[in-house]
């Protein structure tokens, strides 16, 4: 008799590039076999399984990976720590999460910082986690050490005020850092930001005569020119150094055109991602504080042309997605003084739900959704255990009810620490029902079922 720990029956399962109705047997942490529903073997498996989930009418996706989010530990744990952040992620259907280094201790740039971060995750994370280091300590020889320790890629945010290593847009230093990372074969992700454009925009907002608050200011920041023009400039240094480029926040026209052109020309190693929360994929203008019932008028940054973005997602210009979940405490938002305020949008709790809603709106197919939330990214990152639903790989699944229509209200918990809800009161179609990681049901019907420490540090193959 087959050993089956978990048996998923009657679901529409993503295998070999498409969805088919098939049952999945999980043994231990791995996908053990597939078999046809209703077969004799299936009955036997179901009998012997320790746990059976009937996924009739549900889609079984390879575990959704959030390739870009901000969990604030270590350093800003009061905003979000590994436990709350990964609970929110599991709730949002996410089985593994990449965590950006900016604003964390030492920008996670030294082996010591990295080691400590890994340790924080080991103790506190509930899902698999990938802390992304910064290459800023490259002059001290940190880059190869970080790779040896299991770094998947590196991240630089261009705008860091008074940063002695990367002063505003310093191409001289950037060039050196990229040369250093190029030797390791790792990707460097950059948030492009034309700093002089940014300052010009800030001045314009202040002198516009319009009310200077978050609601008015934010839509003018992170815009087409600010991001795209710097992306064009970055292209030179990535091409020159041969460093692999993860073009972050590729959601504006001029930026998408650039990436599409570079891919077509085949002159450099480039992958691109879109992060969906800060880009007004939905109306996120109001942050509802679940603790106090108050609402923070936030507005949304950037104003991408989403039709253009979806086209890029569907034609392969965009390789994968991220949430860019950026939690802050409610008292850190100062709507009346936007340039002294935090500006991030939280939303990890419904990350996959938002994407299912987009599928229901006809923006992308379920197959494409799988490609951009797991298959392509896992391959690029070098995680052969993730993202494919192949037999023998990690049994990570995100199970979804594509037809479910629901409203984000108090019955839907927010696990993210500040308890801020950017979708409160809005309707969605499509909802995650289960998040399964390495054979264990981590989230079911909005409830978290594992303890902190279940998550594992995810490293590229061979590390």
């Amino acid at each position: 008799m087959k050993h089956v720990d978990l048996y998923l029956k009657n679901g529409l399962v993503y295998t070999n590039g498409c969805f088919e109705k098939i049952n999945v047997g999980v043994a231990g942490e791995k996908i053990a076999f597939y078999e046809l529903p209703g077969s004799e073997a299936a009955e036997e498996s179901e009998q012997s399984a320790a746990r059976v989930i009937d996924a009739k009418g549900l889609h079984v996706l390879p575990g959704v990976i959030d390739f870009h989010c901000h969990i604030r530990e270590p350093g800003l744990d009061e905003k979000e720590d590994y436990t709350t952040g990964t609970k929110a992620a599991a709730h949002g259907g996410v089985t593994a999460v990449c965590i950006m280094p900016n604003n964390l201790v030492g920008d996670i740039s030294t082996p010591e910082n990295f080691e400590y971060t890994i340790e924080c995750g080991r103790k506190h994370a509930l899902i698999d986690y990938v802390p992304i280091p910064s290459p800023r300590a490259f002059k001290e020889g940190a880059v190869p050490k970080l790779c040896e320790m299991g770094a998947t890629y590196f991240k630089i945010k261009s705008k860091v005020p008074n940063d002695p290593v990367f002063p505003y847009g310093d191409n001289w230093v950037l060039d050196q850092a990229l040369q250093e990372v190029a030797r390791t074969g790792k990707y460097v992700a950059v948030h492009p930001m034309d700093v002089s454009w940014y300052y010009g925009t800030v001045e314009k907002i202040k002198n516009s005569g319009e009310p200077v608050d978050l609601m008015h200011a934010l839509p003018q920041l992170y815009g087409e020119v600010e991001m795209s023009s710097h992306a064009w400039q970055l292209a030179y240094f990535f091409r020159k150094t041969g460093c692999k480029w993860l073009a972050l926040h590729c959601y504006h026209k001029g930026y998408i055109d650039l990436v599409r052109m570079l891919k077509k020309e085949g002159i450099m190693d480039i992958v691109a991602s879109v992060e969906i929360l800060p880009t007004s994929i939905r109306n996120f203008d109001l942050l509802y504080d679940r603790n106090t019932g108050k609402t923070i008028p936030l507005g949304h940054p950037g104003k991408p042309d989403w039709d253009y973005v979806w086209e890029a997602v569907n034609d392969g210009t965009i390789d994968f997605l991220g949430s860019d979940h950026s939690p802050h405490r409610a008292d850190q938002y100062h709507p009346e003084t936007p340039f002294q305020s935090v500006q991030g949008v939280p939303g990890e709790d419904f990350y996959t739900d938002l994407l299912l809603d987009a599928v229901n709106q006809g923006k992308l197919t379920m197959e494409r959704l799988v490609e951009v939330t797991s298959v392509k990214g896992a391959k690029i990152m070098g995680w052969s255990q993730k993202g494919t639903n192949r037999i023998g790989t990690d049994a990570d699944f995100t199970i979804c009810d594509l037809k479910k229509e629901w409203t984000v209200d108090d019955s839907f918990p927010i696990y993210s620490k500040p308890g801020l809800d950017s979708l409160y009161g809005q309707k969605l179609k499509g909802k995650v029902t289960h998040t399964i990681i390495r054979g264990t049901v981590v989230m079911e019907d909005d409830q978290i079922l594992v303890e902190p420490g279940f998550g594992r540090f995810l490293k590229p193959d061979g590390k």
Partner: protein, 452 residues
């Protein structure tokens, strides 16, 4: 009866050279005739057997000094004579270094008036568009503009950045509205400034020879180009990408042209990039000026880009400067310009003889392409009947040594002294008048006209 008949030469027509006679009446080409047409009569005939008759060469990028603080090193008369000496029938003078940097209409008009008095070949001046920021009346008579990416008003915030994007955007919008081309010298200022700092920290004596090779390098220019490309594309700017000689720069221009959604020309300027003038002869003192050269391109790669059409235009970048300042004790402040106009055209013929480009390509890059882009075609650059009778006439076989001939540049510095060259322009004809005949200038100042 024609005024001038150019007989038996190889004449550039419709993209190729063929043997025919060209008849000139007044300032215009009256007819292109079969070679040896028995009925053609003219007041003056030149037998050009074995010689090439090119549409007059336009130098799309050079530095003149009048009006301006450096007039003792060059003026309209001396520069245009040097141009004619080299086969050039029209010069495009750059704004930088001239009075008020040619940022306003009044100074521009003054410069044109001065040139009309003194020039011996046709001319235009590229005004600088930066007056836009000072609320000045821009020199809109200028057929195209020129600026360096470093010219923008002061930085916003803490960064100089590649340039100031905020201002660049406004300027491009304005220039695009005017529908003019703009020549831009790309310069990533972050990179440039950091590089200078690094050179200062290097051990050893700092001289032009030791530091100049770090200037105008691939990173500094090519990084600037990508950034400019974004804004140029955004505004549908008509853009002439200057100094397109480094590999990565050429690559991006080639790629952008292939995309086909931009109005884009690229040019190479010869004097600062060919590395032939490291040790210039000072004809006044008899001494040698060790100026060295900026970061040199891979010329095989450049010639390939010329051949495949990535490069559209040539210029000399003739740049006369104070001889004393070549000896400035602070090498960072010393003159670095090369006053190469007297030999510019001849050097191009030498490159043809070296097998680096064809005569047809030379015509395209020195007149036809630019005349088309700037709206001077077919008046200039075509050799078609009815158009300006501007010719640069070349003897491709003459082997000669630079320095034996007269030069006309006022600064009296010869960058190519002693160099052996194969190929020589023997006549320069501007609107029907022979301006240069074998190193001699035959017209009076004032023959040159402003071409708008």
């Amino acid at each position: 009866m024609y005024d001038l008949l150019l007989k038996n030469g190889l004449v550039y027509l419709d993209g190729t050279f063929r043997k025919c006679d060209v008849a000139v009446k007044g300032e215009k080409i009256a007819a292109v005739l079969d070679s040896g047409d028995p009925y053609a009569e003219a007041g003056q005939e030149l037998d050009l057997t074995g010689k090439y008759v090119l549409p007059g060469i336009i130098d799309f990028h050079c530095h003149l000094r009048e009006p301006g603080p450096q007039i003792e090193f060059e003026d309209w008369e001396s520069c245009t004579k040097a141009a004619a000496n080299s086969g050039v029938t029209m010069v495009c003078g750059m704004s930088n270094g001239l009075e008020n940097e040619m940022t306003d209409a009044a100074t521009y008009d003054k410069a044109v008036a001065l040139a009309e008095k003194s020039a011996v070949v046709d001319f235009m001046i590229a005004g600088c568009p930066m007056g836009f920021f000072g609320g000045k009346e821009m020199p809109t008579r200028s057929p195209f503009y020129k600026f360096k990416q470093r010219d923008f008003p002061g930085p916003l915030g803490d960064s100089e950045g590649t340039a100031n994007s905020w201002y660049m955007n406004q300027l491009f919008e304005e220039i695009a509205k005017q529908g003019k081309y703009v020549q831009i010298h790309p310069m990533d200022m972050d990179y440039h400034n950091a590089l200078l700092e690094k050179i200062r920290e290097m051990p050893g004596e700092k001289t032009s020879l030791s530091i100049f090779p770090y200037y105008y390098g691939e990173d500094e220019m090519a990084a600037g180009i990508w950034h400019l490309a974004y804004y140029a594309r955004k505004h549908h700017l008509k853009w002439q990408a200057l100094h397109c000689w480094h590999r990565a720069y050429i690559d991006v221009i080639r790629m952008l042209k292939k995309q086909g959604d931009m109005d884009l020309l690229a040019s190479i300027e010869f004097c600062p990039s060919n590395g032939l003038s490291d040790h210039m002869k000072d004809l006044v003192t008899g001494g040698t000026i060790d100026v060295g050269h900026c970061e040199l391109p891979e010329w095989d790669y450049v010639w390939e880009a010329v051949a495949d059409g990535t490069i559209d235009l040539f210029g000399s970048d003739h740049c006369p400067q104070s001889r004393e300042n070549y000896y400035n004790p602070d090498a960072f402040k010393s003159s670095k310009g090369i006053p190469g106009m007297d030999c510019y055209g001849h050097l191009l013929l030498n490159e043809v003889n070296n097998g680096n480009l064809t005569m047809e390509k030379l015509v395209q890059c020195t007149s036809e392409n630019g005349a088309k882009a700037y709206g001077w075609y077919d008046r200039k650059g075509s050799n078609l009947p009815g158009t300006d009778a501007d010719f640069s006439i070349a003897d491709l076989n003459e082997i000669w040594t630079c320095g034996e001939e007269k030069i006309y540049t006022k600064v009296r510095i010869h960058p190519y002294y002693g160099m052996q060259i194969k190929g020589r322009f023997i006549y320069t004809i501007v609107r029907g008048k022979i301006v240069m005949d074998h190193n001699e200038i035959l017209v009076q100042p004032g023959h040159g006209k402003f071409i708008s």
